[in-house]
């Protein structure tokens, strides 16, 4: 690489005369993560300008073109399926850092889910904490107060043998404990309740864990801030943490495959500092209340470069930046490092000159550092200065518009087959399922997160009698003191069904999100999609991506529920293995009156038990088949008409206060749902499966067919319930045991304490 120093720590790179080989070498040695095609495009551009670029110019462009920033592989697919689902409530959709949806006349809620997979695989504690920090900033920069967090997590099995680990790969238990500690210490310290999530274990995630984090905030509509600078003369104020070498090339790291060497990519792992973030949240909200923020964006992937570029480009103005004004953690940083650094806890505000004093005052009160680093200008150019030297002069369009690919894809053919196992010992199967790590109690995790802070959590993640609680389907937040209206929040994913059939897996995921929201009495309102996939340069992975997006799109469009924000994480590949397609949904529902919320624990002797929805012999991806080692590629099939129908019916019955508890049927099927409801209410039920029709009892009990719920209906209200909801009565609440028969044949009879014991031991066996 030929380079010459033209200003302190700024080099002009000779690319005009570079051969393909040299272009590759430049890409390699500068760590740009661009393809040769892209390098050539870059070269052509500078040939047209008739000059060589500076190193910082090349970095700025590479950053803008990274998969992470430009969505170059995913955009065309997202546009086709995910974007543009019409909705009356959605206010800002897929434009800024988070989606904004109407809550009531005066307020809107803001939310998004995002991935932080690779950094967490390398450094679980810091990686996960940073993921949480990043998603909080996305909410904050819309001017919203963050009020809830969620954390869908995917690991290898906790009992995975150490000997089988690939070099450089850490054990699932180590990763899980680190990730959870990172989320706990960050979320708790900034005072935002973590109220829902997923903890899923499977061999498919041994080499490549998934750490997703979502955040929801609330904002008065007139206080929404856009990530746009639409006027010249506004000052850029950089506040919060200082800029350092941590996190340089994080976005490129996210778009690479994990290898043995990934351990060395420490620089790409940023570290969050909640004790800067917490006052930063206060300060930003105070400044927003004072009405002085004219545009704002957080510094996440891509650092200053993508923030200033995108904000100004979106608003049709140019930018002038003085990098020597940026407060640094360490001296001797080169300008390009400052420009692309992804150091945490930083926000960029666009402020009128006259308000600079005001923002200074606020920062002083909260002990936060800030500096003015530039301003918006007329025109469409990015100009960067370094101690007076002019080191970047580029059209913003070229830097931020990025590139797009229609990557080739191949959709896999599925051979349908299903083994039919011998009839099992029902008691043993149920207890084994309850104590399996994907079904058993997640209390060990949930209680380490402060899910009560802010006092808004009116339906908790753990539900039932105090210290006997079971898993709930969704948590409910009451965002405003003077309104009974609430937001239900849940997350859903099902990688095993997706692995069989990405399309059906996506439908199933939407179905599960809807089920969870409806189970607590909330009307599904909007989604954020976190799309975790393998290497998009492989046709079959791109095929999975297409199919997943098609499924997500079909389901949501049919139901009229928009995706308002989301995130794509590709390159979840390690040691030649790709993760299964794992679209994760963060779903939000509205409940008009939180006093009508329904929890999952059985309430009262004598109440009737109903099953809503159709049970079918489709065992593909089920926990039961996994337990007994039987094979099936019959993935559960979602019927969207049925989903919509049952949803409306249940919500109607809940509104009439007919239902005293409700739980969706998911992992482990009907038997597990009943057991969980008994555990939380510390009360038994007697069930007869015969009304479910003619089918093997193990399928009735353990099938994971979609669109199903168990409802407990108030004694005496059965008729009214049956008039509203299409359902079958299968039994009643009574005694202390879970008793199940199929007609005359008793299948099992287990005391709630024994159920609870098995269920609670699932993680305890590994964690103590």
């Amino acid at each position: 690489m030929r380079a010459k120093e033209i200003a302190p720590k700024v080099y002009e790179i000779d690319i005009l005369n570079a051969s393909d080989e040299e272009l590759k070498e430049i890409n390699e040695s500068m760590g740009l993560a661009l393809s040769l095609e892209e390098m050539k495009k870059l070269q052509k551009f500078f040939i047209s300008l008739g000059r060589n670029p500076t190193d910082i110019e090349i970095h700025a462009i590479a950053q803008g073109w990274s998969e992470h920033c430009s969505y170059k592989s995913s955009k065309p697919v997202l546009r086709k399926y995910i974007f543009g689902i019409p909705s009356k409530h959605a206010l800002i959709v897929m434009q800024d850092d988070a989606g904004v949806v109407e809550f009531n006349d005066e307020y809107a809620y803001v939310f998004k889910i995002e991935s932080h997979n690779h950094p967490s695989a390398v450094e679980p504690y810091g990686g996960a904490a940073t993921g949480v920090g990043g998603i909080i900033r996305d909410i904050l920069n819309m001017g919203a107060k963050p009020i809830a967090l969620v954390d869908p997590l995917f690991f290898g099995p906790p009992d995975y043998p150490y000997e089988n680990l690939n070099p450089g790969i850490k054990h699932p238990l180590y990763l899980m404990q680190g990730v959870i500690a990172g989320i706990r210490d960050y979320g708790n310290r900034v005072g935002i309740p973590t109220i829902a999530g997923i903890t899923y274990f499977h061999e498919d995630f041994v080499n490549n864990i998934l750490v997703n984090a979502g955040c929801l905030g609330i904002v008065r509509k007139d206080k929404i801030v856009r990530s746009v600078v639409s006027k010249a003369g506004l000052k850029f104020v950089l506040m919060g943490g200082r800029t350092g070498r941590d996190g340089i090339h994080g976005v490129n790291f996210a778009s690479k495959i994990l290898t043995e060497k990934s351990e060395e990519e420490r620089q790409a792992v940023q570290l969050g500092n909640p004790i800067i973030k917490e006052p930063l949240i206060h300060a930003i909200l105070e400044a927003n209340d004072a009405g002085i923020i004219k545009g704002m964006k957080d510094l996440g992937g891509g650092g200053l470069g993508s923030v200033i570029g995108e904000m100004c480009h979106a608003g049709g103005v140019g930018a002038e930046v003085h990098l020597d004004k940026v407060l640094l953690k360490e001296r001797n940083m080169a300008p390009w490092e400052i420009w692309v650094s992804e150091s945490q806890e930083r926000m960029l505000l666009a402020i009128e000159e006259k308000d600079i004093e005001k923002i200074r005052e606020i920062c002083e009160k909260w002990d936060i550092e800030m500096s003015v680093i530039g301003q918006s200008v007329e025109g469409s150019y990015l100009d960067i200065y370094w101690y007076g030297e002019h080191i970047v002069h580029l059209p913003l369009e070229f830097v931020t518009a990025g590139v797009e690919y229609e990557r080739p894809y191949k959709i896999k053919k599925i051979e349908k087959m299903q083994e039919i196992p011998k009839e099992p010992n029902y008691r043993n199967v149920l207890l084994s399922l309850l104590s399996s790590y994907n079904i058993g109690s997640k209390e060990w995790i949930i209680r380490q997160y402060d899910h009560e802070v802010q006092g808004r959590t009116v339906l908790k993640p753990l539900q039932g009698i105090i210290n006997y609680e079971t898993h709930g389907d969704a948590a409910i937040i009451k965002p405003l003191k003077d309104s009974w209206k609430g937001l239900a929040i849940t997350t859903a994913a099902n990688p095993q069904i997706g692995k069989i059939d990405a399309y059906k897996g996506a439908l199933y995921t939407v179905d599960e999100a809807i089920r969870n929201l409806v189970a607590v009495g909330a009307r599904p309102h909007s989604f954020s999609d976190g799309l975790n996939f393998g290497n998009p340069e492989r046709e079959e992975i791109m095929g999975e991506f297409h199919e997943s997006c098609r499924g997500l799109g079909d389901a949501a469009r049919f139901l009229g529920i928009p995706y308002v924000s989301g995130n794509v994480s590709f390159y979840n590949e390690a040691f030649g293995r790709n993760i299964p397609p794992t679209p994760v949904l963060m779903a939000v529902g509205i409940i008009d009156d939180i006093r009508k919320a329904v929890s999952a624990d059985f309430k009262k002797d004598g109440n009737s038990i109903y099953i809503v929805g159709e049970t079918r012999e489709e065992m593909g991806g089920s926990e039961y088949y996994k337990l007994i080692g039987a094979k099936s590629t019959l993935a559960p099939e979602v019927n969207l008409e049925e989903l919509k129908g049952r949803m409306e019916e249940i919500l109607k019955a809940m509104n009439k206060n007919l239902i005293t508890s409700c739980h969706d049927i998911s992992h482990g099927g009907l038997a597990v749902a009943l057991a969980e409801m008994s555990i939380g209410g510390n009360i038994g039920v007697e069930i007869d499966l015969s009304s479910m029709g003619f089918m093997r009892a193990d399928f009735k009990l353990f099938s994971e067919s979609p669109t199903r719920w168990v409802c407990e209906v108030k004694r005496g209200k059965e008729e009214e319930f049956e008039r509203i909801v299409k359902a079958r009565r299968i039994g009643a609440v009574e005694g202390e045991n879970l008793k199940v028969r199929d007609g005359n044949r008793w299948l099992f009879n287990i005391h709630t304490n024994i159920l609870r014991g098995s269920w609670r031991n699932a993680l305890r066996n590994y964690l103590g």
Partner: protein, 251 residues
Amino acid sequence: MRVAILQIEGTNCEEESYTAFKELGQEVEYLHLNLLKKGKRNLEDYDILFIPGGFSAGDYVRAGAIFAARLKAIAMRALKDFVDEGKIIIGVCNGFQVLIELGLLPAVDGISEKPEAALMTNDSNRFECRWTYLKKENESIFTRDVPNIISLPVAHAEGKFVTEKKTLERVIENKQIAFKYVKPDGSRADYPWNPNGSMEDIAALTNPEGNVLGIMPHPERAFFPYQHPDWNRKERERGDGFWIFKSMISK
């Protein structure tokens, strides 16, 4: 009454606490430590000092230690006067930790130079977010309107009250225990009913004079009935925490 809710970086239950006093019609404001430090506000202008929960300064070193050290450096004199005048100080969770570190609690022989007790890591070694039952042990201005058994949530990693034997004896003798963790029927608690392994199941303490309270569970998170997890099983006019706030402000 004029209530100050103290803040530094990392305190994060101030909004709920603010709401509680506001609902009861009190004059309440946030008071950032920096404002005290710069002399922009004075403690003597308030009747109640509320030290909220959270993770002051990240709870680094030890929960509450940094907050306490800074408060001591800035306002120890004023704090002493505040207590001596019989004004009210209440510390919740992290605030309780701060009061212990400051020597304002248990203060068996008056405010102590060095801490006389500690709130240390829970026996489970984990952060515990769960609901507890509390039994009122002694009457004070913080408990006069409070029913005998209430339930409040805890959310802490360091809440196990420990002290030396003789201090504990004095605490009991002085009737300083405000609340103990109990089982729902009021009987002696074991884990998880006592979520941290606290000596004598102590959940809340006052000073001997009864005008300083430290409490690990969060009354401000149970101010309204629907903040309770069992609101769909048990009807309440008010959240159980309401009564602690009510007690403090009734003359």
